[in-house]
């Protein structure tokens, strides 16, 4: 009896318990400081976004208040030549859309195929080796991809479609290479989503005599759909916003064309060229890049909203 009391005393003292009530007597400063730091981090990111939107909006307003610039002409005009006062953004938009389209034509089927292979078919060992290798693709600087497009993909396309049909700078080459760049993003995120689907759902399907393909496509894929759609939309946003590849390989001059074998500057390519050039502050060219930036921002925002809507509507919630 005596011994056990002694043991109790040692334990409570070693835990720092010196009083019998449970009142707060320890301020736990580290907890308070951590909370403040984390709150600050959250606030900084929110204010950065607000700041960017504010700046884009302000400069865009300056652009739209210029004489001869109207919102209608900006959105519907097919000629972008600031020198002669033509500010129709469509050539830049179509070029962005065409390069992004080809990028997604490469990235979605290959990315999803790779994701399904890695998650459903590959042995654990294979997966552990292949996935990091695929993710290395995502770490290659985009300027390298740009030169890859210009010095490898373009000659290849010219060999296939003929020198006279393919311009040195062309949207197809930039788009295809952009697809290769986005592929690991889509495959990696989709693979995560597929892998998170519980084993028990696969067991249920396989136990009914489903093949592996039926299980993957009809059970696992729909259950992972919301994650997969997020991956695809993020990929599209990447494609729309990608700058270096298109600046190097797609051409540097607005061109209203739907022929992917021709050169045409994208929205991002134009912004990069103008902001990198020696244009002075407050010229129409300079102000225009903010309007284009705002448009890009809105496009990405809409894409995000669409993805949220789609995934909420079609996802199959497990558990």
């Amino acid at each position: 009896m005596h011994k056990s009391v002694a043991v109790d005393k040692v334990t409570s003292e070693s835990l720092g318990i010196t009083q019998n009530n449970l009142f707060r007597n320890n301020k736990r400063w580290s907890e308070t400081i951590i909370k403040a730091v984390l709150t600050l981090a959250g606030i900084v990111s929110i204010f950065t976004t607000i700041g960017i939107v504010y700046e884009l909006g302000k400069e865009s307003l300056l652009f739209f208040s210029l004489p001869g610039v109207t919102l209608k002409e900006f959105l519907t005009g097919t000629v972008w030549q600031p020198v002669i006062g033509k500010f129709g953004v469509l050539p830049l938009v179509t070029s962005t859309m065409i390069t992004s389209l080809f990028a997604m034509l490469v990235a979605i089927p290959l990315g999803l195929g790779a994701a399904i292979f890695l998650s459903e078919y590959a042995a654990d060992k294979t997966r552990k080796v292949l996935k990091p290798i695929l993710e290395i693709l995502a770490g290659i600087p985009t300027v390298v991809y740009g030169y890859f497009a210009l010095t490898f993909m373009t000659p290849l396309l010219r060999g296939i479609f003929g020198q006279e049909n393919v311009e040195i700078y062309n949207m197809l080459s930039a788009g295809l290479v952009m697809g290769i760049m986005i592929l690991p993003l889509i495959s990696s995120m989709s693979e995560d989503a597929l892998h998170a689907v519980p084993r028990s759902l696969r067991d249920a399907a396989l136990g009914l005599g489903a093949t592996k393909l039926e299980t993957s496509i009809q059970v696992v894929f729909p259950a992972a759909l919301s994650g997969i759609i997020s991956a695809v939309i993020l990929g599209i946003s990447r494609a729309v916003g990608e700058t270096m590849i298109v600046a190097i390989a797609a051409g540097s001059g607005p061109n209203f064309t739907f022929n992917p074998l021709k050169a045409a500057e994208t929205m991002t390519g134009y912004i990069a060229r103008i902001s990198g050039g020696d244009l002075s502050y407050d010229t129409p060219d300079y102000n225009s890049i903010f309007a284009i930036g705002l448009l890009l921002f809105l496009v990405t925002l809409v894409l995000n909203m669409i993805s949220r809507h789609i995934s909420r509507k079609y996802r199959e919630v497990y558990e």
Binding site: S200, L208, A210, P222, E319
Partner: protein
């Protein structure tokens, strides 16, 4: 028609050993399952009873490194013969799992799915109704067929999983601790259901619940772990016999709750 015996058993295993890589999880199981009866497999954790059950419809194929020696015969064919298509084995020998695992689809779609992928040619609506009636769920869900399966209670979900298994017209239904996630009332419903289904189907159930094995099964196989950690079958017979008059001390100790 190798190893044809005088009687057609639902499943017959001969000197069955199951390995996970180098580890022998189950050894020397020779078991003959009576058709259209309920056979329970009991035993302490880790004795390989689920492993044996999952080997009956080749669900162990999906565990890397698993392999089988000896034979498991279903209608005179060794289902581990390399010429056998495991997908067809699983159509004929269905499975109900420990935790209810309905697809995140509608109630209707859960039942119809298996039939559809197996190219069911007749009326799907009739099939869905028939299976839900058989699984004693029809009355509760007949007006809610398009509702998500996950909106059902745990016990209802498990009966839906049974209906789903019935829809591919199996001959044998394997149940891997089907009531371990359910409350006692839902458990009794499943047991009643098993009794009704045993008129048409062979049922093999793995359970941790002694009372369940005692009251709901016709035959009982008792497994335990050997000193080399491999599970083996110690005793097998008519349930009342195994429960009231076991021939092995270990069986008696387990059933009376002295270990396990």
């Amino acid at each position: 028609m190798t190893n044809q015996t005088d009687k057609q058993w639902a499943i017959e295993t001969q000197d069955l050993d199951i390995y996970y890589s180098d580890f022998r999880a189950v050894k020397n199981v020779s078991l003959k399952i009576e058709p259209k009866k309920i056979t329970s497999i009991i035993g302490p954790s880790g004795c390989g009873k689920s492993t044996v059950l999952r080997s009956f419809n080749r669900m162990n194929d999906f565990i890397p490194g698993s392999r089988v020696t000896g034979g498991i015969f279903f209608q005179g064919q060794n289902i581990y013969d390399p010429r056998i298509d495991p997908v067809q084995v699983r159509q004929r020998i269905g499975m109900v799992f420990q935790k209810p695992n309905p697809f995140p689809k509608s109630i209707y779609e859960n039942v119809a799915w298996g039939a559809r992928i197996n190219n069911y040619k007749e009326n799907l609506n009739d099939l869905v109704e028939e299976c839900l009636v058989k699984s004693a769920l029809w009355g509760e869900v007949k007006d809610l067929l398009q509702r998500p399966a996950l909106s059902l209670s745990g016990g209802q979900q498990q009966r839906l999983c049974i209906a789903r298994a019935l829809a591919v017209k199996p001959e044998i239904i394997l149940m891997d601790e089907p009531c371990s996630a359910l409350d006692p009332i839902a458990t009794l419903k499943i047991e009643d259901l098993m009794r009704e289904l045993s008129a048409q189907y062979t049922i093999i159930i793995v359970t941790h619940n002694m009372q369940q094995a005692g009251r709901a099964s016709d035959f009982t196989a008792y497994f335990t772990m050997d000193t080399d950690r491999a599970g083996s079958m110690i005793e097998y017979g008519v349930t009342s016999q195994v429960f009231t008059n076991p021939t092995h001390k270990s069986t008696e100790d387990y059933i009376s709750g002295r270990f396990g």
